[in-house]
């Protein structure tokens, strides 16, 4: 069984369900990517997995334990890390303080982990004494990922990490995310840049109207004529 198994999730914010029988799973060392058109419920799916939204039906299990009803904070303690799409740093604090706050739950203050994050993101190390609010979009995103890594999560959830950054920065960020995956962390990511994201994905989920439409390896989805035509913007190579 996978580290994360979110089965048959159904739920939404009001009376209408956004998620209609949605199933996502992800294992250690794997990159799972959720793609799909706007309003497909991609972000809602990871919010449900992270406990920011209650499910009407279905189950989220993590490391073999059912998490339903557990608040997000407790899920962080259980080993999940979350990088929200926006407002994902403390703008008025230095980069180093941002990372320290990421380690707030740790009793040891995260002294050793901070070195690992600096190793992974040399740009973050260089800017460690600057305020996070003064950084460029790409650097800020790196700080946000670094902050989430401070608890040494076994599952890292990213909500559109490359939204609004340049293609070069996006490639760089995806490289880093692959490196994190190589250390045995499960990565679950929602992406607008579907083609590039599927290129690094072990598993891809195409959601449409809150349901799984296609589920396969990233390479297989990229090769699928129908997926390309419908979701990847035509038949580009």
């Amino acid at each position: 069984m996978s580290l994360l198994a979110a089965n048959n999730m159904r739920g939404g914010y009001g009376a209408a369900d956004i998620l209609q029988d949605c199933t996502i799973s992800c294992d250690r060392g794997e990159v799972a990517v959720i793609v799909g058109p706007n309003g497909a419920g991609k972000s809602t799916a990871i919010k449900a997995i992270f406990g920011m939204m209650n499910l009407r039906e279905g189950e989220v299990s993590f490391g073999g334990k059912t998490l339903n009803g557990m608040p997000p904070q407790a899920r962080v303690e259980a080993g999940m890390g979350m990088v929200p799409q926006t407002n994902n740093v403390f703008p008025g604090m230095t980069v180093e303080e941002n990372l320290e706050m990421g380690a707030f739950l740790r009793d040891d203050g995260g002294a050793g982990v901070i070195e690992k994050v600096y190793e992974l993101f040399p740009a973050v190390y260089e800017k460690r004494n600057q305020h996070a609010g003064e950084l460029s979009g790409g650097q800020r995103q790196q700080v946000a990922v670094g902050r989430a890594m401070m608890t040494e999560p076994s599952l890292l959830i990213l909500d559109e990490p490359t939204a609004g950054v340049s293609p070069i920065v996006m490639d760089e960020l995806f490289d880093r995310i692959l490196e994190i995956a190589k250390t045995g962390v499960a990565i679950l990511m929602v992406e607008q840049n579907a083609r590039q994201a599927l290129e690094i994905a072990d598993t891809g989920y195409v959601l449409v109207q809150g349901q799984n439409r296609y589920t396969d390896t990233g390479a297989a989805l990229l090769a699928d004529q129908e997926v390309r035509a419908t979701f990847l913007g035509g038949d580009q190579s």
Binding site: P72, Q73, V76, E77, M82, P84, N87, N88, V89, F90, P91, G92, M93, E97, E100, M101, G102, F104, L105, G109, R147, T151
Partner: protein, 337 residues
């Protein structure tokens, strides 16, 4: 040369020293207001009356200590009662939080409802203080009143102008510097302080990082209660205690916090001094300073006072309005929720 020295001493005596003292008192009060705003996200109208409550407790304890014959030599006994007054005030504000604000926090109401609740709390504290200590003026400063007397200074230096330095002024400046240094160290260097800044910066992300909101709120009230008591006692030692005056201090304190950038501690300090220097500087009559500085033939006939002292509240009000019109975020870019 002598004239310039005389003019400088005159200005120091009537503008510089009083404004620095008053500025330090305002800064301590504004720091409490700005911290509450940063963490609890509302403008606490009860802060002036919290100061009055803390000072009242300090006065009662001071009277008790005086009755027992205690003294601190040249220093006022009130300094000894200050720690206990802080404890009582902290208990009061945490009690109010548990009874009033916690309920609204759990309901996640709009900030304006918090503000209205704080107005209610203000009236309650207001009444509490008046019931116990009355409405009149109380002078509770004992010990020696002056560190340097004007006449001594004149004899010492041979200048025409005297410089008086009151004990309360020196205590205010020393205590305020120590308290501010301690507070900034706490906010910048300690884990709890950093978690408070994180909570103020991005509440959702702070929760995600495992920062406990109720703990942050509790620490904030402890600091705000302590700051209010210290500011209140220092102001009382300097200018005497009167409940209504403390209520009136709300205006300059809010003006200081907003001018500096609400939610920014350093802004509250700078704002406090800007307000104090404007108030004192604009209401002082410069005639005698000009007497010294200008040639004899230019001797002024008027008082050269921009505003009468009765208008000192208008100064804070005016600055507040100007800041809100020209730069609503204040000097240090505070955040408007």
């Amino acid at each position: 040369m002598i004239d310039i020295a005389n003019a400088f001493i005159l200005l120091s005596n009537f503008v510089l020293i009083p404004a620095v003292t008053y500025g330090a008192q305002l800064a301590l009060g504004a720091l409490g207001i700005t911290l509450i705003y940063a963490i609890l996200r509302f403008a606490n109208f009860a802060h002036g009356d919290t100061m009055a409550f803390g000072t009242m407790v300090a006065i009662f304890l001071t009277w008790g200590m005086q009755a027992l014959g205690w003294s601190l030599g040249g220093l006022p006994v009130a300094l000894l009662s200050l720690p206990f007054a802080i404890l009582a005030t902290v208990a009061l504000v945490i009690g109010t939080d548990k009874l009033v604000y916690k309920y609204f926090r759990e309901k996640r109401v709009d900030p304006v409802i918090f503000v209205m609740a704080s107005v209610g709390v203000m009236f309650m504290m207001n009444g509490l203080v008046r019931i116990f200590i009355g409405t009149g003026d109380i002078n509770f400063a004992d010990g020696s009143r002056f560190l340097i007397r004007a006449r001594e200074f004149r004899d010492m230096t041979g200048l025409d102008e005297g410089l008086a330095l009151r004990t309360a002024q020196v205590i205010t400046i020393v205590v305020a510097v120590a308290v501010m240094a301690g507070l900034f160290w706490f906010l910048q260097k300690t884990r709890t302080g950093k978690s408070m800044r994180a909570f103020s910066d991005n509440e959702d992300l702070a929760l995600l990082s495992g920062i406990k909101p109720e703990r942050v709120v509790m620490v904030t009230w402890i600091i705000a209660g302590a700051l209010a008591t210290i500011a209140g006692v220092l102001y009382g030692l300097d200018k005497g205690f009167r409940p209504f005056t403390y209520f009136q201090l709300l205006l300059p304190m809010f003006a200081a916090a907003i001018l500096g950038g609400i939610g920014q501690p350093i802004g509250a300090v700078v704002g406090g001094f800007v307000i104090a220097f404007s108030e004192v500087g604009l209401t002082y009559a410069y005639r005698r300073v000009l007497d010294y500085l200008g040639p004899e033939a230019w001797e002024p006939d008027g008082l050269y006072q921009l505003l009468e002292t009765e208008y000192k509240f208008a100064v804070s009000f005016l600055l507040l309005v100007i800041v809100l019109l020209v730069r609503p975020t204040g000097i240090f870019r505070g955040r408007i929720v």
